[in-house]
């Protein structure tokens, strides 16, 4: 719960968080090392100085650290944990669904755990989707189109094999497809830069919600174009939001574009924990106003309190059928603590 300076309670659903293991023990090869190093560079590059972690903690933090940073020190009420395998880089996967489920089980009702699959695995991918639905009743998945898989260095959402998987997701009620379309940690396949496959997939699967993490940056214009056309395409603010600290005017330009094109109902807050922690992000977002000249260039769009509340939690709650009033009541009846298990 975020309590505003005026005392208003804001429900925060963190749309993008991780419980990873990037430690040397789990790294399969140099790529695994370079991948977590690159994340760490994002962390140190855009965090306020006082929020910096040491490298060892960043590589592998505990479930208690996660809980503390999101819910006790941080303002999150709930968080979505996205699974990311990167099996070519990490022995047990970067953050596999079992690892995410372990923390969700330890702290009930706080987490939504999303699965992941790789359409290039063919039949096995379909079996795995069935397995995740039956075992964990997942409501969403996270797609990493630039993931390596043997000889292949990437895939597209509109590949025929991917369509088979999305057909199954649709059938099983796995409605929320989160897609990493952002700065290319793995820029090996040029399509990883490209958001155009979202256009095809979102048109062909109207029953699914397509949450584009990082809003396609640095392809914001392409993303805005597609998300304006397609009513089922959403934008996740992870990576865009931290600029609010180092370059607030620049963040103002990004959020003005998003509000102007796709509107306030389709923007989702995400901390991208543990790259960034939610406390400072939420505080700074609540205090933020779009500079006047930037707003004027984009039809006078404003970041009102009402819009901030939607971005911070209500929009994601709608996608995951979360009853916000009920959750608020439940959480206030059971104050959070690390001894809650």
């Amino acid at each position: 719960m975020y309590v505003t300076p005026e005392g208003k309670e804001i429900f925060v659903l963190d749309g993008h968080a991780h419980f990873w293991d990037g430690s040397p023990e789990n790294q399969k090869n140099i790529h695994g090392k370079q991948f977590i190093d690159c994340f760490y560079a994002y962390h140190t590059g855009l965090s306020p100085k006082e929020e910096l972690w040491d490298k060892k903690k960043f590589e592998k933090y505990s479930a208690d650290d996660l809980y503390q940073d999101l819910f006790i020190d941080g303002p999150d009420d709930m968080a979505i944990l996205n699974s990311t395998y990167l099996s070519d880089f990490y022995k047990d996967g970067f953050n596999n669904i079992e690892r995410n489920m372990s923390v969700a089980k330890k702290f009930p009702n706080r987490f939504i755990v999303n699965g992941a699959f790789d359409p290039r695995d063919g039949e096995k991918a379909l079996e795995y989707i069935h397995f995740m639905k039956e075992t964990y009743d997942i409501k969403g998945v996270k797609m990493y189109t630039a993931e390596w898989n043997g000889e292949s260095k990437g895939w597209r959402l509109n590949d025929p094999a991917a369509y088979k998987c999305f057909e199954l997701c649709d059938k099983l009620g796995i409605k929320n497809i989160h897609v990493h379309k952002g700065p290319t940690i793995l820029p090996l396949n040029k399509d990883a830069f490209d958001v155009h496959d979202v256009d095809y997939a979102a048109t062909d699967f109207q029953g699914l919600n397509w949450i584009i993490e990082h809003c396609g940056l640095p392809r914001l214009d392409d993303f805005c174009w597609i998300a304006t056309q397609e009513s089922n395409v959403y934008g996740g603010l992870a990576v865009a939001l931290p600029f609010i600290h180092s370059r607030p005017r620049y963040f103002g330009e990004i959020i003005a574009e998003l509000l102007f094109w796709i509107g306030p109902e389709k923007i989702l807050f995400g901390s991208d924990y543990a790259i960034w922690t939610p406390k400072w992000l939420v505080e700074k977002l609540w205090a933020f106003q779009i500079p006047e000249d930037i707003s004027a260039e984009r039809g006078g769009v404003q970041l009102t309190d009402e819009i901030k509340e939607k971005i911070l939690g209500l929009n994601a709650a709608r996608l995951y059928n979360i009853d916000v009033a009920a959750r608020k009541a439940e959480f206030s009846a059971h104050p959070i603590s690390l001894a809650a298990e």
Partner: protein
């Protein structure tokens, strides 16, 4: 009438002849852009080391340049464009027999270095990673973005001076050439904008439109066009900010002003420009 930019170029060239060889190399490196950001690789701090070895008769020299990028993963096609640019710009110098370019700390460093120094094409080396990659088309795409980004700075500066949007649409090049700005970034971008106009032969005469589109047509609707330029800038700035931040973090070039340096700073910190 000769455009001031031509005079400036001529002055630069004659000054080059009198420079020490190492300075000449750095001056050529200033002309190599990070294609994604439209900023010189030197300003970005990508150049790690420059050295010159000469033949016994001192007639010809080999220049060695090593460079590195913000991440191990930086896109091989962008890296290739930069490596190629470095080699080409240095080999323009009459006393250089060969430039040997080395990309460091990159996932594709080995293949890249072999390809660049053998004059092989990008496609022949990275066919599996970048199928159907057309580097010429990519270069053109970046040229368009560079043109648009520089143009936006100059248009906004003219508006700040008091010109109206309608006047921007019909303004002749000569007017931009004589416009005097005080902001250093505007001055820098104006020179770069005029240079790209020349390079693309978009406004050869002083009477030609100062602000055509990249296709050479007049701007149709001011507000729509400026919206386009803005989105181009937002994308480029995103990459630029991330690249600077990531590079700083990767090579521990954190700004320590006011802080007490710790041991790690002396062991791994790299003074990017000290070698210059």
């Amino acid at each position: 009438m000769t455009a001031p930019i031509h005079i400036a170029t001529a002055t630069l060239v004659s000054a080059l002849d009198e420079q020490a060889p190492l300075e000449q190399v750095w001056a050529r490196l200033d002309l190599v852009m990070d294609p994604e950001l439209d900023e010189p690789v030197t300003d970005m701090g990508f150049i790690e080391a420059v050295s010159i070895t000469s033949t016994p008769d001192q007639n010809t020299s080999t220049v060695h340049v090593s460079f590195r990028l913000p991440t191990y993963w930086c896109s091989p096609n962008f890296a290739f464009l930069m490596a190629e640019g470095i080699k080409r710009q240095i080999e323009v110098l009459p006393w250089v027999a060969q430039a040997v370019v080395t990309l460091q700390d990159h996932m594709a460093a080995e293949e890249m270095n072999a390809a660049i120094n053998a004059g092989a094409s990008f496609g022949s080396v990275f066919a599996d990673l970048h199928p159907d990659e057309d580097l010429a088309a990519l270069r053109e795409k970046f040229d368009i973005k560079a043109f648009q980004r520089r143009q936006e700075v100059v248009i906004k500066a003219m508006i700040t001076m008091g010109f109206l949007p309608a006047e921007i649409l019909t303004m002749p090049r000569a007017l931009v050439e004589i416009a005097e700005f005080t902001d250093p970034e505007t001055i820098r971008q104006k020179a770069r904008y005029l240079a790209i106009l020349d390079e693309k032969r978009l406004a050869p005469s002083p009477r030609d439109l100062a602000f055509p589109t990249y296709q050479g047509t007049p701007i149709d609707d001011y507000a729509t066009y400026m919206g386009l330029l803005r989105s181009v800038r937002i994308n480029m700035e995103f990459s630029g900010s991330l690249c600077r931040g990531l590079k700083r973090s990767r090579y521990q070039e954190a700004d320590l002003s006011g802080d007490v340096p710790i041991l790690v700073d002396f062991t791994t910190r790299t003074p990017t420009h000290a070698c210059r």
